[in-house]
Symmetry: C2
Subunit: 215 residues, 2 copies
């Protein structure tokens, strides 16, 4: 069995907020760099200079890296942070720029804009990126922000191509049976409905391992 460790760290909420605010602009800038690396027509000399600058910048950050993944952390007041999450991590430039909103009835949505880094078919969002968005949104919807859930089964029906640009993702819980939470979701874009999805999410029987550390 793969062990998942949710770490309790002795870091104040003010400090967590400060670190998040320190790194969010950098993650946004790295996202722009990702897109420019795809799109630029710059020649060998410019690319060589940029490569050296990126490596130097990375080395400065790496000098203060002491782990190979960010994990999911929380502090004594219940503030949690999950900065590396590929679906939503505030410090992860791979993650689509998503901010979920929960409606009073528990349904959820997010409006976001997807650019060059998320392309699949020409001018359209990659089907796997749509799957990443849906898995993330549906998992959060199932969790109701109050319990861990894991994806059990996810069925995605691709109805129409999803153009790059503005995108809306919406989800809602349709029913629960024991530890199973059933969730439906859609993605719509500038051409209308693109995907419909059904998912079964599982609330685990085990408690996550909680590891208290002093740093």
């Amino acid at each position: 069995m793969t062990e998942m460790v949710f770490r309790q760290l002795d870091v104040s909420t003010a400090e967590v907020d400060e670190i998040e605010a320190r790194y969010e602009p950098l993650a946004a800038a790295v996202r722009e760099l990702v897109a420019a690396t795809i799109l630029s027509k710059a020649g060998a000399e410019v690319v060589s200079d940029v490569l050296a600058a990126v490596r130097a910048a990375t080395a400065r950050l790496q000098a203060e890296v002491d782990s190979d993944h960010a994990g999911v952390n929380y502090n004594a007041t219940g503030r949690s942070w999950n900065w590396g999450n590929a679906g939503s991590g505030q410090r992860n430039a791979v993650a689509p720029p998503i901010e979920l909103v929960t409606n009073p009835d528990g349904s959820t949505y997010a409006d976001l804009v997807l650019g060059a880094a998320y392309e699949g078919p020409p001018g359209c969002v990659h089907g796997g990126v749509s799957a990443l968005l849906l898995d993330h949104l549906m998992g959060v919807t199932a969790s109701k922000m109050s319990r861990p859930t894991f994806t059990g089964t996810l069925t995605l029906r691709y109805r129409n191509p999803l153009p790059l640009g503005p995108v809306r993702v919406e989800g809602r819980v349709t029913r629960e049976e024991g530890r199973k939470v059933f969730v439906e979701a859609t993605i719509t874009g500038s051409s209308g409905l693109a995907l419909e999805a059904d998912g079964v999410f599982i609330t685990p029987t085990w408690s996550p391992s909680l590891e208290a550390t002093q740093n």
Copy 2:
């Protein structure tokens, strides 16, 4: 209907290869920067310096950007390039570092290593990243490298958590019915089988729009 334009460009294969070789090391370096942005404990001064360096590097690349997405391109000899593809683009630092192998019987696989940028549950690959890998591999498997296909339906069964680290993705066509291609795939990791997937991929009735341009 969303228009998809596959562009024929007047660029020699040697030049395409040269551009790809120029940018691939940069995309690899940007991937390292993405991970370092997640993991670093560097303080405000270092992060501020790195932010300025990243923005300056990005500006140099952006000075020679004239489009908002990379598209899918090919030349008169049939060399195609799809550098921005979120599942596999050689210049896209969002894309997992995947190189597919096709077996003589048409089945496919890829071995790759997934690090901090692809995390979901602590120490494990994000379920949506697994979906991205599967959608990409299954689409390529369905296309047999000789025809366009689009994802119709994708069903993912998450069997066990997938630890970060070495991962194998495998796919094969199980049958075809008219324009439908049925594909099965799995992901295994260091703890064994993590996901099973079934997909229906569609070969379109329309020909892609082919647009010949002179640059």
